[in-house]
Symmetry: C2
Subunit: 413 residues, 2 copies
């Protein structure tokens, strides 16, 4: 049962988000707060200040992740954790990540002003470099913390200017003393904008993903034959870009051919020599396939891979395929997901049992402890863009669900 009267303060949550949105604000109405940049540091400093105002026990780990711990009645019990990330995409939005850090902050402020003590401690967390857009890959700090990634490997990652992750961490003063190593956690909740259009299309306010889709990344390399376009007849050409174009359309048609819930995308392409009067002789492009069903995704890939090979043979363009990354689908804790749905109903918010197409720090946390996420609608489904937006009443709704979920978990003995 939810505490009927206990609610977050919408105005305070809104002001807090607006305050954060000033840091790295872009002319287009978004934010640019790249990992370990000056803007990231400024936002972290403000976050730490707010944590200290709540008398939380603040700890920075060696990956720069920031933890704020609120004591429980019994501090020998494993804590409940909630958080997300402060960093943003280049020209990103004002909600992606930051809502999942300011949300639990608002929850703790609400508990404080209501003098509520929980059985278990509660920890709020900002994970370093969730986006992976300055330093690839994404979600490295939760990955190291969960034991899935190697700390020193991440330290050595460089940005496009050759700056090392570790050096930048030291530069902004956030290489902390605490080992980035998992500890027992009773449950992890991550509050996030949906970053897709489903909640809006379905007219729902709260999304409870049953987990995160599997993810397959491939890199395709094609070779053609470069020649002056004018004197080279169409017959006998080996045009690597035409071969790529056929393949891109095959990827785009794949979900409809396969049926079931699946997305498939070519997001990146490089063409060489990329001169308007030379037939392309080299093309690289990427393939991203996601589904709840790992086997289904694999079968789809096998199908489109055969298409690729036929197209390559037909155009006389040798093909090389690399399987760059495969992550299996990640089902969240069923009881916690159901809790989200139940709380939404009790609070009078419409809800949707769905899946998460995007990866989140929750993916790595799901390897450590029972995990669930709370989604609220993205207007127009837009994210990773400056116009990314979410209604304030929806931000409030999600925070209220988070408040009750944290309370229930933190009072479990």
């Amino acid at each position: 049962m939810v505490s009927k009267e206990l609610r977050v303060n919408r105005q305070r949550l809104q002001s807090t988000l607006q305050e954060m949105a000033k840091i790295g604000a872009t002319p287009g109405g978004g934010v640019q707060r790249l990992t370990l940049s000056d803007e990231d540091k400024q936002a972290r400093d403000l976050f730490v200040k707010w944590l200290k105002e709540l008398d939380l026990e603040v700890a920075i780990d060696e990956m720069g992740s920031i933890f704020g711990k609120r004591a429980g009645k019994n501090n020998d019990l494993a804590p409940v954790m909630s958080g997300s990330h402060i960093d943003s995409q280049p020209k990103g939005g004002r909600f992606d990540g930051i809502l999942g850090v300011m949300g639990p902050l608002e929850v703790l402020r609400t508990l404080d002003e209501n003098n509520i003590q929980t059985e278990r401690p509660i920890i709020i967390v900002d994970w370093t470099n969730e986006e992976g857009s300055r330093f690839a890959p994404a979600m490295v700090a939760s990955g190291v913390w969960a034991g899935a990634l190697d700390r020193d490997w991440v330290y050595g990652r460089t940005d496009i200017n050759g700056k090392r992750f570790e050096d930048e961490l030291i530069r902004i003063g956030y290489k902390g003393p605490v080992p980035a190593k998992k500890w027992p956690v009773h449950g992890y909740y991550e509050y996030h904008i949906e970053q897709g259009p489903l909640l809006e299309r379905e007219g729902k306010i709260i999304g409870a993903p049953r987990g995160i889709l599997c993810l397959h990344w491939y890199d395709v390399y094609l070779e053609g034959e470069a020649n002056q376009v004018g004197p080279t007849p169409m017959a006998g050409r080996h045009d690597a870009l035409c071969a790529a174009a056929e393949m891109i359309l095959k990827v785009n048609e794949l979900p409809e051919r396969m049926g079931g819930n699946m997305v498939a995308t070519v997001g990146e392409i490089q063409n060489y020599p990329n001169s308007r009067n030379i037939i392309p002789d080299k093309v690289h492009f990427t393939v991203d396939i996601r589904s709840w069903d790992d086997d289904h995704a694999l079968k789809a890939w096998e199908l489109v891979r055969r298409d690729f090979e036929n197209i390559a043979a037909g155009r006389g363009c040798p093909i090389k395929i690399e399987e760059t990354w495969r992550v299996e689908h990640s089902p969240f804790d069923e009881k916690m997901v159901q809790r989200i749905l139940d709380i939404a109903q009790e609070l009078g918010y419409s809800s949707l049992h769905m899946v998460s197409g995007a990866g989140h720090d929750a993916s790595y946390m799901n390897q450590v402890c029972p995990t669930a996420m709370i989604f609220v609608p993205s207007i127009g489904g837009r994210s990773h863009v400056e116009v990314e937006n979410t209604r304030w009443e929806d931000c409030e709704a999600g925070a209220n669900v988070l408040l009750q979920a944290i309370l229930q978990s933190a009072n479990e003995k």
Copy 2:
């Protein structure tokens, strides 16, 4: 009638070409002699030295083009001209351009050692910046000389490092005193490798193009909607790269749909944000259409343009199209073209009456005086690449045809 005994010296032509190929030689067996680079200067210096060894009257014009004039019996008559270019593509081949400068040099050497005087003067020319790969556009020096381009506009063109054409011309010491302004010319012959596969496929040695194809250049800009690929269902996406892929295939199919002699190519594409997990929201690509028949090319464009608009509408991706450049087809002087074919036959070389798909300095010269070209086979049809190659006996054959053609023109009263 050809002079039965007079022939160029294959060994000397080969050595001369090999000597030039050392300047800017690349590890892959090609040359890199970008316009107005140190390598260009070095090759020019050697060329001028060779011109002076023949006691030619050397003149450098204000575009840096180098002219070597051999006196005729009657120097009041308009001269016969022949030449091409010394500059190369980045990682270009050892024959493109340079064969058309060393060829007439070998012709003049042959005339000299045989003490042959012609009625008319003969001028050999190296046109500055035919390639246009360091300073766009191509063929600027012959363009200015012919009155088709403005000298000061070309002077102000910059390379990717911001260096001005005129400054680089001065730097290498080739901004000459002679105005770049056309004078009366009796006839212009340009000797060049084919840069396509037709001669080889047909088993012919000498190509006599009846002219240069028309050329249409278009720039297409598409807009899509960027979103995270994972949470964005396929339905409702506006993927600018998928729209571009459909259009690229339409361009590729265009010549077959239209019939007739035509080539159509997409050589260049830029995709944004070009990130593997974001749906592309901006794509730019180029279209190059060439045909002997200007109307046919225009009809083809109108057809594919309608396809583009339908595809753009179907995918909800707004389209913008720019008509970047249109040049009508350029028919060479019929009598001179026939002369090339006749000489080839008399010398016992097989020949092909064909068209030139590529532009050449001959295009601008064709606006000034009767013009024709002589092609010899490109092995595998390859050009603008380091492996570009032509057999020495074919280089010799083309030079022998050029020798006779120049002799006949230069003896016309």
